[in-house]
């Protein structure tokens, strides 16, 4: 999956526009990166990429790049 597609997946999980996210952005200070977004991110990666991300790995995400690296 390309980085652009990964970014789309993350944006959909956070319910924000893809143009609002940049690789170096901090997610820990982004109000849209809440527990619902984390669950949505895990669910999307599971259904679209057939990959299970451990909850603790999602909780440890700091930047957009960290999230993309989990996909």
């Amino acid at each position: 999956m390309t980085d652009a597609k990964k970014l789309e997946l993350l944006a959909e999980a956070m319910d924000v526009g893809v143009d609002e996210l940049h690789e170096d952005d901090k997610l820990t200070t982004n109000e849209a990166w809440d527990s619902l977004s984390m669950l949505a991110f895990m669910a999307s990666v599971s259904s679209k990429c057939k990959k299970k991300i451990p909850p603790n790995d999602v909780m440890a995400v700091v930047t957009v790049r960290d999230a993309l690296n989990l996909i």
Partner: protein, 244 residues
């Protein structure tokens, strides 16, 4: 006193969690287990924990409803019909609506509901049963809303509705059917929640998070003659979760 000596019980989802604990417990009560699941190696692990007996393992995917006839023929190939069915197979993917897909909904319904109904439909065919008791695992999610669990809750609500209604049809065949609504149980399936959700669950289960054996106890009761006048009902084993 619950005694299942020489009763033959088929258990789906027997490769882990509640299904495995139920297999082990029922074998300890004298039952002959037909352990069903997708992973043959894990079924072997389950049977290795069971009391010695002429247990049977059958590896198949409950989504493959076309295979059910063959599954039941293999389960009864030794000439002994089934005395019970425990439907433990289930999936519970936490899925917020914003990323919900038709595929996710269908997968949850396929495993949690359609598999149960079609297994029941096959069980009741005359060559396969001695009457008996069917138990399906439901969840407190059918009675208590929880974010991101809409597909799962829908499947378990439907499962309970189906069991309640099927009880009317099955009574004349001397078959009982009931559900166990499980609270938060410590299983692999339940580990896929965020730590914050886990904290919430711990706070609300006033008797603590359940172990698979707690659910297996209720299943053993509903399979036994001790519950001979109970059908079409839901038994809550929730650690007090719904009582608050």
């Amino acid at each position: 006193m619950i005694n299942l000596t020489d009763k033959k019980i088929m258990i789906t989802g027997a490769s882990s969690g509640i299904g495995r604990a139920t297999s082990v417990m029922l074998s300890g009560l004298g039952a002959k287990i037909v352990a069903c699941g997708r992973d043959e190696q894990r079924l072997d692990e389950t049977l290795s924990q069971c009391n010695a007996g002429e247990h049977i393992k059958i590896s198949f995917d409950v989504r493959d409803t076309a295979s059910y006839g063959d599954v039941f023929r293999r389960a009864t190939a030794d000439g002994q019909k089934l005395d019970g069915l425990v439907y433990c197979a289930g999936i519970a993917p936490p899925t917020p609506l914003r990323v919900m897909s038709e595929e996710t909904i269908r997968e949850v319904l396929d495993v949690n509901l359609i598999g149960f109904m079609m297994m029941t439909a096959t069980y009741v065919k005359r060559p396969f049963n001695n009457g008996g008791s069917i138990v399906a695992i439901s969840s407190i999610n059918a009675h208590y809303p929880q974010k991101c669990m809409s597909a799962y809750a829908a499947s378990k609500t439907a499962l309970e509705g189906a069991a309640r209604t099927l009880a009317l049809e099955l009574a004349e065949k001397n078959i009982r059917i009931n559900c166990v609504a499980a609270g938060p149980v410590k299983t692999e399936m339940a580990q896929a929640v965020l730590p914050t959700s886990a904290d919430y669950i711990h706070q609300h289960a006033i008797l603590g998070v359940l172990m698979p054996e707690d659910i297996a106890n209720a299943i053993a009761f509903l399979l036994s003659d001790a519950s001979a006048r109970i059908t079409g009902r839901v038994m809550y084993v929730d650690g007090g979760y719904l009582g608050q």
